[in-house]
């Protein structure tokens, strides 16, 4: 049983404690609360570096100190505090950094509301457990044999066929019916690779539809997208050793993952606002009358500062873009403003929660909209890598990881 230490403030009074425990149980883990003494709590100023007005936050810090001093106490840590609490947001971030710097225990940081359910936490918990349970598998650096991966995403379904560490076939279709889309994408990848389905030695699946698709294909590996995408990203960017940061702006959610030697150390998933997703860019492209594949190139010629954006919101932000067009702004400036808006929201709301270390790798279909990695570079002030096959990252990660399950 994987032991996840819960360091939190407000979870029980928000009525979500049972949800946290249910999510942990679903992924084969148990929640533990490291014991601390009153003396441990009273001395957090000395041991952790600060004490605050809220007692529960001081207790969370004391527990973090205890875990760092006794790493055998827990296999993973989840740091959770109330959404919209400034005091807690500072301490949550500092606890995550503290554990990250002083131990090798994976940490998940999350701010909750009373609406947080086990389902909201499931993918995050699953990723946390995977990094502990399958460390050996995640350390795999080369794909071997003939394997395939399917990434059943919320907007598009991707598939790849890999042979001896090379991508030999790809397929990409919009997600409509989950299984049919997976079949179509897989079939396209097989066709391009020139291999028959029965020749594939193992198939791995990931993405939102992974459980359904995994069952349909009788997949050997069914895995959440955080660990799979991290693996795919560092593999394709040839950055398997050392630190890396993976940014995946998807159709329905975003992931920012801090990776060390190909294994996620800390990550955040955002999925509340469509203004920080590929959907915002789709709408912008439609309004500008260009294909989504052309939006990025158009944006590269523009300057976001020529457009006043009053909101990140997909409705009101789009309104700002439309207003700018009506006031004579150039389409390329509007395209870049849209890219900047998405990048800025991800930067402000998610990248503050992970350790951003170079190389920064952007993946997923949105990374091919050239203006988006450019906007991210401007914000982070570092070079952003977009590897070849970046849109197939999940499928590549799944094909790579599942090859580790093949008999030697």
């Amino acid at each position: 049983m994987i032991r996840i230490a819960q360091l939190s403030c407000g979870a029980e009074y928000s009525g979500i404690q049972k949800e946290i425990e249910r999510a942990a149980e679903t992924v084969g883990a148990t929640i533990i609360f490291p014991e601390v003494s009153l003396e441990d709590i009273l001395s957090v100023e000395k041991t952790f570096g600060v004490s605050v007005a809220s007692g529960d936050l001081n207790m969370a810090m004391a527990r973090a100190v205890r875990i760092v001093q006794n790493p055998d106490l827990a296999d993973a840590v989840i740091v959770m505090t109330c959404f919209r609490c400034a005091e807690a947001a500072i301490i949550r971030s500092e606890i995550r950094k503290f554990i990250h710097e002083h131990s090798r225990i994976p940490v998940l940081s999350y701010s909750f509301t009373e609406r947080t359910t086990a389902e909201t936490l499931l993918t995050r918990m699953e990723a946390l457990v995977t990094t502990v349970k399958y460390r050996g598998l995640l350390a795999r650096e080369r794909q071997k044999g003939l394997t395939a991966g399917v990434d059943s995403g919320s907007t598009t379904t991707k598939a790849v066929v890999m042979r001896d560490n090379e991508v030999v076939g790809t397929g990409w279709v919009p997600t409509t019916e989950v299984i049919k889309s997976a079949e179509d994408a897989y079939e396209a990848a097989l066709k391009q690779a020139g291999v028959r389905r029965e020749e594939i030695q193992a198939l791995g699946v990931t993405g939102y539809g992974r459980f359904l698709v995994g069952k349909h294909f009788e997949a050997k590996l069914v895995q959440e997208e955080i660990t799979v995408n991290s693996k795919g990203a560092v593999f394709l960017a040839d950055s398997q050793a050392g630190p890396a940061t993976v940014i995946d702006i998807g159709g329905m959610d975003n992931k920012a993952i801090s990776v060390q030697d190909g294994i996620p150390g800390g990550f955040t998933m955002g999925g509340i606002c469509a203004g920080a997703s590929g959907r915002f860019l789709e709408l912008t492209a439609r309004r500008l009358g260009v294909d989504i594949t052309e939006l990025g190139k158009l944006a590269l010629r523009g300057n976001y500062q020529n457009v006043t954006m009053n909101s990140y919101c997909i409705v009101f932000g789009t309104q700002s873009l439309v207003n700018s067009l009506s006031m004579g702004c150039k389409p390329e400036d509007v395209a870049m403003a849209a890219c900047h808006s998405v990048a800025e929201q991800v930067y402000e709301q998610q990248l503050q929660e992970v350790e951003v270390k170079e190389p920064v790798i952007m993946v997923g279909g949105t990374s091919l909209i050239e203006g988006l990695p450019k906007a991210m570079e401007q914000l982070l002030k570092v070079k952003v890598l977009v590897p070849k096959h970046a849109q197939y990252i999940g499928a590549v990660g799944a094909a790579l990881l599942v090859s580790g399950l093949l008999e030697d």
């Binding site: 407000g10 029980e12 009074y13 007692g55 009373e114």
Partner: protein, 145 residues
């Protein structure tokens, strides 16, 4: 007999003093006990469900953290019921702690703006101060009808 809310609202020491003087102490453990013994609810350790932060909207806006509103769902009704209050400043955690400083601030504010008799005390730091502390509480409680 008066209904007396104590601050910190989890303080069993203050609650005990109030009860000894023949009044009813309004404290969080009582509210938690009601939740824990209610049938059909199971959300350990406190049996607070996501409904409590919604009830807390009566005392704090939706942009106030859910942990504050969940706590207020327990403490707010006690403040409404209170006829007198004892507030101990800088009590130290051994005296009782709601765990959240924002909740503490809101609780103190709501008690003070209610217009009920309030006894303000500093937390005693030695034996002599502790005796005066208890005497002041006794005198205040004796003055309540």
């Amino acid at each position: 007999m008066a209904k007396v809310i104590v601050y910190p609202p989890t303080s069993m020491i203050l609650s005990d003093l109030v009860e000894r003087m023949g009044h009813k102490a309004l404290v969080v453990p009582e509210a938690v006990r009601t939740l824990v013994t209610a049938e059909g609810i199971e959300s350990p350790p406190l049996n607070v469900t996501p409904e409590e932060p919604k009830k807390g909207l009566h005392y704090a806006a939706v942009d106030v953290p859910s942990g504050v509103r969940g706590r207020m769902a327990l403490i707010g009704p006690l403040i409404e019921e209170a006829e007198a209050a004892i507030i101990v400043k800088d009590p130290g955690w051994l005296t009782g702690c709601a765990g959240c400083s924002r909740t503490n601030e809101l609780v103190r504010l709501l008690i003070r703006t209610k217009g009920i008799p309030v006894l303000d005390l500093a937390y005693p730091t030695d034996d002599a101060e502790a005796r005066v502390f208890v005497q002041n509480i006794k005198k205040f409680l004796e003055g309540l009808k």
